[in-house]
Amino acid sequence: MSQRMLLPNGPDRITIKNLRFRPDPGREPVLDCSNFTFEKGHFYGIIGPNGAGKTSLLLHLLRLIRAETGTISLNEININEFRRRELSKHLSYVPQKVDTGISYSVRETVMMGRSPHLKMFSYPGKDDCAAVSSAMKAAGIEKLSDYPVSVLSGGELRSVLLARSVAQGCPWLFLDEPVSSLDIYRQYSVMNMLSALRNDEGKTMVCVLHDMNLASAYCDRLIVMNEGKIVDSGDSSTVLTPELLYQVYGLSFRRIEFPEDPKTLFVPIPRNPRDKSPEDS
């Protein structure tokens, strides 16, 4: 077979059209997105309540779930045209966790990120080792190098998987809640690292987040999802409004602005039992 490579420089945009995903025919679709285009070079944040379809969207974009209805294209090429290995050179996935029943060392796990670049029969070489070392340094896990991943804390494992993706060297990174269950310091250091990857190396980030303040501080584009649909999207400084947040989360939010800083904060207001929500009336 010829060594073809679609889009040698990676996709400039990823477009979804009429994507619907209904794993259980008796229930509402988990995912129901009409049209959206991810453009190269941005830092996308996907927010929304549990079960909004954020992770499903991510998995479709990576073709870890194949689209049954609708299409996903990289530039104008349908994602199904790509071979698995080609995709793994373009798109990288940072899952929340991996199976550690059979446990490898941290270094071995990060080395797995080099897999798309290895030929059959060949073992990781000097370049791969260098890539792994610098990825581990970037993620701040050099000291864990020889630990088995099974003994790591959730946060440490997250950093290892992030390093694995960095070693993979893809232009697009898809991250599933990379900071959930991390302490506040680590949350910011991970987000800083992602920001640096985007600003210094021009990588595109698509990141599922729960913390809307973290999302609006770091992402330049926000996608708000609810019940499988993209409810709103656009520039992160304009998308979020107390009305939208109320519609999506069913909670009242207060917007806090700072005179010297363009960023705004959203803080939920605990609901007073005497207040009536629109559904009650």
Binding site: R85, S88, Y93, S115, S150, V151
Partner: protein, 349 residues
């Protein structure tokens, strides 16, 4: 976290140990032959130094015992040990289950069923230098494989659970059938039972050659995929995002290991523990990386099985203990010890 044992030491030490074990176990046995004489016989057949060894004082009978009886037996035990350990290591990886062993696929029960049919019918005869029991066991294993595959590879996801369940169900069905057969042919009960416990007493060179073919084939198919297997054991999604077709790789590995297990079980019976504990032993010594684990498991499996078989034929000589009993007797306590130590270090096995 302690550093793992220096890898070069393992790479040199374990194969060297295998050579020593092969030679020394071919030199001991029930027949009254001096160990030095046995060594001479073996050395005289070696390619380079063979001519320099003086064998003039050794009886021709001893030649036959060593070269026609002991050596094929030692070689067969080694090959079966390798095959079981290799397939155990592969299956533990692709099923992401540290408790998987070569017998979970139900193939062994298929072989046992075939063997019991042959024994109950009183099938003798020799096919390609293998007894009717072996031939029937192999056929039984292959039929079972095709059934298990057909059930297990249906559908899209959840393949791991499917395979395990299919294997276990087929296995208990066949065990039930064997029990029925044994009840009907009580006179053959002991034979069937002993076959199932495993033995290398009927080792012949054709069996050795059969195993050499299957083991080499399996190694050629499995070793190039070692790194992909590492990645597969972190999960399907994780592996696919790194460019590996998880389902296809798992299928291929299961197909190869089940053929290898079929060959092993048909010539030796159902020998437990080697396929389970040898890979775990190597993991504790060298880590989980399949590029080390798979070849080292082959060597260590061979050593383990040869030692067990040598014990089986010598400690109660001239009668024999089924080798499966020895592997369990040595294997189980050793495995428990490893587990106990591993828990303290937090190595998940």
């Amino acid at each position: 976290m302690r550093k793992r044992i220096f890898p070069t030491l393992l790479w040199i030490g374990i194969p060297l140990l295998l050579v020593v074990v092969v030679i020394s176990s071919a030199s001991v046995g029930a027949a009254d032959i001096k160990i030095l004489d046995s060594l001479r016989v073996l050395l005289s057949k070696m390619p380079v130094i063979g001519g320099t060894v003086d064998v003039s004082k050794i009886r021709p009978n001893d030649f036959i015992i060593i070269l026609r009886i002991r050596l094929p037996r030692v070689l067969l035990a080694g090959l079966v040990g390798s095959g079981l350990a290799l397939s155990g290591a592969v299956l533990q990886g692709v099923m992401r289950n540290p408790l998987a062993d070569p017998h979970v696929l139900g193939i062994s029960s298929g072989a046992a069923f075939g063997a019991s049919v042959a024994i109950s019918v009183g099938l003798g005869g020799v096919v390609f230098g293998m007894g009717g029991t072996t031939a029937f066991a192999f056929i039984g294993a292959l039929i079972t494989i095709s059934i298990v595959w057909r059930i297990a590879f249906r559908g899209q996801r959840g393949a791991v659970v499917g395979i395990l369940l299919a294997g276990i169900s087929v296995s208990s069905l066949l065990t039930a059938a064997i029990t029925m057969m044994m009840v009907m042919r009580r006179d053959q009960l002991e034979k069937v039972y002993l076959w199932m416990l495993g033995s290398f007493s009927s080792a012949t060179y054709p069996k050795v050659i059969l195993l050499v073919i299957f083991l080499t084939g399996a190694l050629f198919a499995i070793l190039p995929a070692a790194f992909s297997l590492d990645i597969l054991s972190t999960g399907d999604e994780s592996a696919e995002s790194l460019g590996i077709d998880a389902r296809r790789l798992r299928r291929r590995m299961i197909v190869i290991s089940s053929l290898l297990v079929a060959a092993c079980v048909s010539v030796s019976g159902i020998i437990g523990f080697a396929g389970l504990i040898v890979p775990h032993m190597i993991r504790l010594l060298s880590g989980s990386g399949n590029r080390r684990l798979l070849p080292l498991s082959c060597f260590a499996g061979a050593i383990f099985m040869i030692v067990c078989d040598t014990l089986a034929r010598t400690i109660a000589a001239p009668s024999e203990i089924p080798v499966g009993a020895i592997t369990a007797l040595i294997g189980a306590p050793f495995f428990l010890f490893l587990l106990w130590k591993a828990r303290a270090k937090g190595v998940g096995g």
